[in-house]
Every structure is written in C-alpha cells, then in structure tokens.
C-alpha cells in the first residue's frame, strides 16, 4: 500500500517537474535557435539599410522605422483614449453600477477578440468606410487617397487592439491613489475634475506609462491587425505621411518566410529580423516591469 503510494507520489513529482521543465526548455530552445541563427547577421549595416536585391540582401531599416512609427501613432491615440476611459470608469461611474459593468464587459470582450478580426474590422471600418467617406467628400475625381491601407488606419486598428491593456493598467493605478488625497483636495473647494487632473492623474503616471509600454510591446508583436490595413510587402522608402504604407518587422518576417524568392538564402536575414523583433519587445516588457517595480517601491517608501 505505502509502496504504491510512494511510487505514485514520485511519478506525480516527476511528471509535474517535466511539464515545468518543458516550458523552460521551449524558451531556451527558441531563444537559442534565433540567437544562433541571427547574431552573425545583426550588423550596423543590417539595421540601417533598406532591403535590396529582391529582399534577399540588405537590411531592415524601413521595417524598424515602420514598426516604430506604428507604435508611436498607436500610442498617441490609444493611451489618451484608454486613460480617459479608465478615468470615466473609476471616477464617474459608481462601483458595480450597470453602466460600469457593461463597459467592463465590453473592454474584456475587446481583449478577447482575435487579432485577425481586428484586421478585418480595420479594413472594413477604417479603410473602406471612414477612408471611403473621406474620399467621397474631399477627393476630386474619385482619386483614392484615404480609402486604401495606410499607416494611420493600421495604427488606429492597433490602438483598438491594445485599448484594453491601457484601460486596465490605468484603472489599477487610479485605484491605488489614496481616498484621503482626493478628499483633501475636494475639501479645499476644488472641483472633482480639478482633483482628477491635479491629484489623481499625477499620482497615476506610473500606471499610465506601464499601460503605454505594455500596449506598445503587444502592438509591436502583432501582425494580423495590419495585414489589410497598411503594412506593405516591400517599400524602400520610409513613410512620409499618414496616407503612406509602411513596412513592419513582424509582417516582414512573415513575407520573408512565405513569399521570398529564396527562403534558404535569406534564412540569416529572417533570424536576424526575428532577433530584432524579440529584443524590441523584450526591452519594452522589461521597461514596464522595471517602471512598475520602481513606482511600487517608491510608494512603499513614502
């Protein structure tokens, strides 16, 4: 009896250990392969040149710049909208009210929608509907200006995708602002909005920044939302305006692995591109973790 039990016990320990180990192994394996395959190609020239010779040579500068511009425009739209939504939820709806629950439900649903659906929604809503309406109103002779994929529509689609991340982290931050501080301000004859602006938001800056960085790292890693809304197969030039298309690291990788004229020859480029994408995402994630950690320790110290 006891022997059987001890055998089962050992088996359970070994099995759970093995499962845990497989997660670690997967990370090491993936990282190892990518670093091994890509490090030699990761040169200054690779980072600062446009792809050449039918994308079998050259660098990935347009993709880096495109990714950068994508996340900047996305943040400029998504962070304010997300922050304002979080303010509305935590300050202007009462806890547990039907409206608040409904908005929270909507935000959670938004977070659960697959990225490709966002891509198709972006194509339908931004490119065709919004862009189409703009062109009908402002474009002479039916020339397509806004009714085609571009960096603005791609960024807006991405902003929509990352909105829940921003809302949740800003709301969390707003919740940690002590009630005593708000009351101190209100008791001085300061309006609610002034209190939010002067007391609540300055004390939530950490959460807003964390939300922004998490959104950026999420956005930088998604390809599906920009597939139909603005990402380009190949563009030697950098985007100059909202109506330009752009290259993006994740999409570039997808193109290189599936549409390349010579997949074997471009393997080092693919690995190096993956490495750049991962480093960028990791840097942003670690930035968010570091910032949260610093703000938390500061709050404890105070």
């Amino acid at each position: 009896m006891t022997r059987t039990k001890s055998i089962i016990g050992k088996a359970v320990v070994s099995f759970t250990g093995l499962c845990a180990f497989s997660a670690v192994a997967a990370v090491v394996w993936i990282m190892g392969t990518i670093v091994w395959g890509g490090h030699s190609h990761l040169t200054w020239a690779f980072l600062t040149q446009a792809p050449a010779a039918g994308m079998t040579e050259g660098g990935i500068l347009p993709a880096i710049v495109g990714t950068f511009m994508l996340v900047v425009i996305m943040s400029l739209v998504g962070v304010p909208v997300g922050t304002i939504t979080a303010i509305y939820l935590s300050e202007y709806t009462s806890r547990g009210s039907k409206l608040a629950n409904f908005i929270r439900f909507a935000v959670n649903t938004l977070a659960g929608i697959p990225a490709i659906v966002f891509g198709l929604f972006g194509l339908g809503f931004f490119v065709q509907f919004t862009g189409g309406t703009l062109d009908r109103l402002f474009s002479p002779e039916g020339k397509l200006v806004w009714a085609q994929p571009n960096i603005l529509w791609a960024s807006l689609t991405m902003a929509l995708l990352t909105l829940p991340v921003v809302i949740v982290s800003v709301e969390e931050a707003i919740k940690t602002v002590p009630r005593e501080l708000r009351e101190a301000s209100l008791a001085l004859g300061v309006t609610k909005w002034q209190t939010i602006w002067r007391v609540v938001l300055p004390n939530s800056v950490g959460g807003i920044l964390t939300g922004a960085i998490l959104a950026v790292s999420r956005g930088a890693g998604e390809v599906a939302p920009i597939l139909f809304t603005g990402a380009a197969y190949f563009l030697p030039n950098l985007p100059h305006g909202f109506t330009d298309q752009f290259m993006e690291l994740g999409y570039h990788l997808y193109i290189m692995t599936t549409q390349s004229t010579d997949v074997e020859k471009t393997l080092p480029i693919q690995y190096a591109t993956t490495l750049v994408l991962l480093l960028l995402t990791f840097a942003l994630n670690f930035g968010a973790i570091f910032m949260r950690y610093r703000l938390r320790s500061r709050r404890v110290a105070a």
């Binding site: 009462s94 209100l186 008791a187 001085l188 004859g189 300061v190």
Partner: protein
C-alpha cells in the same frame, strides 16, 4: 435645548442620513455657534463623523448616501439644489483624522488651493503661504525648508500643515475629524493650543474620542449615541452635571 438660528453659524434641522440600508443619523438638530468650538463625542459608530461630513457635503462623494432634512450655513440650506458644494467647501474647510498632505513640497501643499482658485501672483501667494503656516503654528519649524517634501515631516507637523493648507483657502468654518487621534501627547497638545487660537477667527466643529480633549478645547459638546444626539449643552455642564444618565456614564468612562 433652545434653538437660536441667528446666533448659529451652522445649524441642522431634523437631519437624517441613510447609508445604504443603515439609518446612520436619526433626526439631528444642532446649533454650532460662531467663533466657538463645538465638540462631538460618542462611541465609535455613533454617527459623529458622518454628521461632521454632512456639514460640508463630503458625504456626497460616497455612493448610496441619502440625506433628508437640512443643514444651514449662514442661514443658507446647503443641500438646496442651487448651492454649489464646491463653493461651500471653500467656506467650510475640513481636517481629517489621518493627516493627508499631497506628495508635494510644503509650499505647494499650502499653495494648492489658492492656485486652483486663481491666485497666480507670486508675491501674494508667498504671503498667503506664510500667513497660513504661521496661523497653523508651524511656520517657525518649516520656514527654511519650504521646498522640502511634506511627506518628510513628522505626523504632528503634517497635521498642522494640513491645517495650514485648509486655512489658505480662507474658510470661515473648520471641521476637524479626530485631528489628533494619531498623534503623540506633545503633538496633540500643540494641536489643541492651535484650536484655542483659531476659534478667535473661525467657527470650529471637532469630533473627538478623547474626553479630556473635548473638555479642554470646546465650548459646547454634543453627545452622540446610535445616530442621535442624546444631550447637547455647554461643555462644562456636559462634563460636570449632565442631565442624561447615558451622557454621565459615557463621560465618566463607564461605557464607550
């Protein structure tokens, strides 16, 4: 208990407050006279803090609070729909139990209210900050480090800074919610001394758990129990010859 509205800076008439299903205040009528200190005493949960917070409509910020009856400040019903609670709170300031300075410098804490209310002139602001800090009896301790974070001050200093911050918006009434309960005896003595000074200029209503404190600083005392005022009279009488048995038991420490 006679009512004399025209002498009372604040008075309430049959004030009822429901907090969700809880009947927290059951018909309170109380006069608080100008330039006097009125103390509200009673066991925990008796409604004295809730009552205090009704006097500047701070309870408005809490969900599920229902108020019936009236509160008059300078003979104006503050719960009338034409009254702006933001303007009211400028006139009726509040000091909280736990000192709550903003995570800003000492100067910016005091200047916070006046700045938002539109005072931009640097010289005038400097002057107002100094006057407020002097009135709150903390100027001598902080005058050389106005740029220092308010969070670096001791508990007693923080509380006096909060008083200075409240004074800077030039209120007429000060509501104090157990302002010294978290302080040591020396800091408490300083706050009490300060209250004594302040009543020459302000009307003060103070909630306290400390019988000796009520006896020392107040002119009038109201004894709250289970959401009602059991007895309200001159402080001396409450502590030496209360009319109600309950009051006597409480002030002599037999229950509470």
């Amino acid at each position: 208990m006679e009512t004399a509205p025209h002498y009372a800076k604040l008075y309430t008439k049959d004030l009822h407050l429901h907090y969700g299903p809880k009947h927290a205040l059951k018909g309170i009528s109380l006069d608080m006279k100008a330039y006097k200190v009125t103390a509200l005493i009673g066991p925990s949960g008796c409604g004295k803090s809730t009552f205090l917070r009704s006097l500047n409509r701070m309870n408005d910020t809490i969900d599920n609070v229902n108020i019936k009856g009236s509160v008059f400040v300078d003979n104006v019903d503050i719960y009338h729909k034409k009254v702006d609670e933001v303007q009211l709170r400028k006139k009726v300031g509040m000091i909280f139990q736990k000192s709550n300075p903003f995570p800003k410098s000492i100067y910016d804490n005091v200047a916070y209210g006046p700045r938002i209310h539109g005072l931009r002139d640097k010289a005038k602001l400097d002057e107002l900050v100094e006057t407020s800090l002097r009135r709150a009896a903390i100027w001598d301790e902080v005058k050389d480090e106005l740029k220092k974070s308010a969070l670096a001050l001791s508990g007693g200093q923080q509380q006096r800074l909060c008083i200075a911050r409240a004074l800077a918006v030039e209120p007429e009434v000060l509501l104090m919610d157990e302002p010294a309960s978290a302080l040591d005896p020396i800091a408490t003595a300083k706050i009490e001394e300060l209250i004594y000074e302040l009543k020459t200029t302000y009307t003060i209503v103070i909630v306290t758990h400390n019988m000796q404190q009520a006896a020392r600083v107040s002119d009038y005392t109201a004894f709250f129990y289970m959401g009602s005022v059991v007895e309200f009279d001159a402080t001396e009488r409450i502590f030496t010859s209360p009319k109600e048995k309950q009051t006597e038991d409480y002030v002599t420490g037999r229950f509470g």
